[in-house]
């Protein structure tokens, strides 16, 4: 019955796991570098044509949502955006709404997890409300900050300002052995693919697919291994957060998400706790906001090899989530808006399950798809 105290074998296994995580982080950085190389291989004109297909911020927002829904990971989307911006393939004006879209798209995962409780009405009401409170927070944040950013560019400006301070330390001017190592391995991969005889567009496509696959696999394995390594500590933190202050929840949300490199994991962990009724929406909401902040670490890591523009996008992601937190978290009335919306939707969903289908379909698929199609149709993509 009792769980054995960590045996020497288990300790070694955990150390090996940690080494594996470090190797995977390196692989992740190589993938970001490779992503830039793939667009360089495609040729400037073709790349510009491809990227020109998304030049409207609204379309960018929609692409961010849809891409994240498809890969079920905002980390993958934001890291890819950082890589593309770093290599000069996407302008900042489009990358910023894409990152906002990724923030919205990532909330679908815990909403889908909450469907596991659908057969028991009360449990489902709690779980679905717990899942969608994150959705509403991020949707409201985008609804407020996206127009503000379009009008003032405050997120971009503040990120540029911060990047100017950070850039020397991030490897722009000072010698950076990590960046050199990443570039060397990336060159080897490009050389390996070139040696197969593939050229031009096909070479670019092959490199793009390899880079994307490496990002997905590396992040997936990092998350999986870190979850095992951190299981006891995550458990301890979740136990600590029950019935404690909001600020502690916020901090716990950040720590867990930074540890496992996935806000979806953090927010999905809470769903069974909502379902069983041991966690209330008011208590868990700060954890979700913390997860939003914590998830920005992936883009910041990717920025280590993505140059100044990449760093600016990563900082926009961070600033967006920090601004949203500062706008909504300190004020009880504003903080309660997403909670009230989530409870209302959950009540409707319990009465008629079609609301679940309608909500997920409309918010995560129909609106973003329409956003892209409409702007394409009127020639403003």
């Amino acid at each position: 019955m009792n769980e054995p105290i960590q045996s020497p074998n288990l300790r070694w296994l955990n150390r090996l796991r940690l080494v594996l995580v470090l190797l995977l982080l390196f692989l992740f950085l190589v993938a970001i570098e490779l992503l830039g190389s793939s667009f360089k291989a495609i040729g400037k004109d073709t790349a510009e044509q491809l990227v020109a297909s998304v030049t409207n911020p609204f379309a960018g927002l929609s692409v961010g949502i849809l891409a994240t829904v498809l890969v079920q990971s905002s980390s993958v989307t934001t890291a890819t955006i950082v890589g593309l911006v770093g290599s000069g393939q996407i302008p900042l004006s489009i990358a910023v709404p894409m990152v906002m879209g990724a923030n919205v798209g990532t909330t679908i995962t815990n909403t889908l997890v909450s469907l596991g409780h659908i057969t028991r009405a009360d449990e489902f009401r709690r779980a679905f409300a717990g899942a969608t409170v994150h959705d509403f927070f991020n949707l409201i944040a985008v609804a407020v900050l996206f127009p503000l950013e379009l009008a003032t560019g405050f997120l971009r400006r503040s990120a540029v300002f911060m990047a100017a301070w950070l850039q020397p330390g991030m490897g722009g001017k000072l010698p950076n052995p990590l960046k050199d190592a990443v570039k060397a391995v990336s060159k080897q991969v490009v050389g390996g693919v070139e040696s197969t005889g593939i050229q031009g567009g096909w070479l670019a496509l092959a490199l793009f697919v390899i880079a994307l696959a490496m990002i997905v696999v590396a992040l997936m394995l990092i998350t999986k291994n870190m979850r095992v390594l951190m299981a006891h500590r995550i458990e301890g933190m979740l136990n600590d957060v029950l019935g404690r202050s909001g600020l502690l929840g916020l901090l716990i949300g950040i720590i867990i998400t930074v540890s496992v490199q996935s806000s979806s994991i953090t927010t999905s962990l809470l769903i069974p706790m909502f379902g069983s009724g041991i966690l209330q929406l008011e208590g868990a909401f700060p954890i979700m906001i913390g997860a939003n902040i914590g998830t920005t670490i992936t883009a910041l890591m990717a920025a280590m090899v993505a140059g100044e523009a990449g760093l600016i996008v990563a900082l926009v992601h961070l600033n967006f989530n920090l601004t949203a937190t500062l706008c909504f978290f300190p004020f009880r009335r504003i903080r309660n808006v997403p909670i009230i919306c989530a409870r209302g939707l959950a009540d409707m969903a319990v009465k008629n399950r079609m609301w679940v289908v309608a909500y997920v379909g409309v918010v995560f698929v129909v609106i973003p798809a329409l956003g892209i199609l409409v702007f394409r149709w009127i020639g403003l993509t």
Binding site: N2, E3, H232, E235, L238, N239
Partner: protein, 225 residues
């Protein structure tokens, strides 16, 4: 907050903490049982122990709820591999909680029936109370050590106590003597048996697989079959 931040680095074993809480339930269960049994057998003033007994039972209930909450968090953070362990803990925590309830039943018996048992029944119930108390202490130790051999010996002792209680209950029913106190004795034996049965259930978690919890191990013949 600072205290919490400095403790984040510590490696907290949730299952260990839950098992420690469960061990505390066993200790407190034994305490309330012995207290209530003493009250029934005339060794203690009911009013003196009332508050302590009810407070301890409340603590047992709170600990059970705490274990349940932690089980949800444990399974959530550790995944499907932790489910069997948690199901076992969920089941035996219920057993530990029931001991508190039966102790209250014994206490009620003492309140409803101010006359303490007398004669051979009193002697027998005192000896039985001591055996059950010893069993409960040993049950806690064996659970902590997960000692299968000792658990089997205690299971045999628990069965012997249960058989003794059953025998006494049938004797009271069939003989029809002790009209004044017969019902009270029968109920006392019944409650003593239930307390023993819940300790038995806890012991089965050490030697039995999950699906056989609360059941005796099959004899050598049925195992061969």
């Amino acid at each position: 907050m600072f205290k919490w931040i400095t403790s984040v680095g510590e490696n907290v074993h949730g299952m260990e903490r839950m098992c420690a809480a469960f061990g505390q339930m066993l200790d407190e269960g034994r305490h309330v049982f012995v207290t209530a049994a003493n009250a029934y057998l005339g060794g203690t003033d009911i009013e003196v122990i009332r508050q302590d007994l009810f407070d301890t039972d409340k603590r047992i209930n709170h600990t059970e709820q705490q274990i349940r909450r932690e089980i949800v968090i444990h399974t959530t953070s550790h995944g499907v591999n932790s489910v069997p362990q948690c199901l076992v803990l969920m089941s035996i925590a219920k057993d530990a909680e029931r001991v508190g309830d039966y102790a209250k039943n014994i206490f009620d018996l003492a309140e409803l029936n101010p006359k303490a048992p007398t004669g051979k029944f009193k002697e027998d119930l005192i000896s039985l109370k001591d055996r059950i108390s010893t069993l409960m202490v040993a049950c806690r130790e064996v659970f902590d050590l997960q000692d299968e051999k000792a658990a089997r010996e205690l299971i045999a002792e628990a069965k012997s106590i249960e058989d003794h209680c059953d025998h006494k209950i049938s004797q009271l029913v069939s003989e029809g003597k002790n009209r004044e106190l017969g019902v009270s004795y029968a109920l006392a034996y019944r409650y003593f048996k239930r307390v023993t049965s819940h300790s038995f259930n806890v012991l089965t978690s050490i030697v039995q697989p999950l699906d056989k919890l609360d059941f005796s191990e099959p004899g050598p013949e049925s195992r061969a079959g």
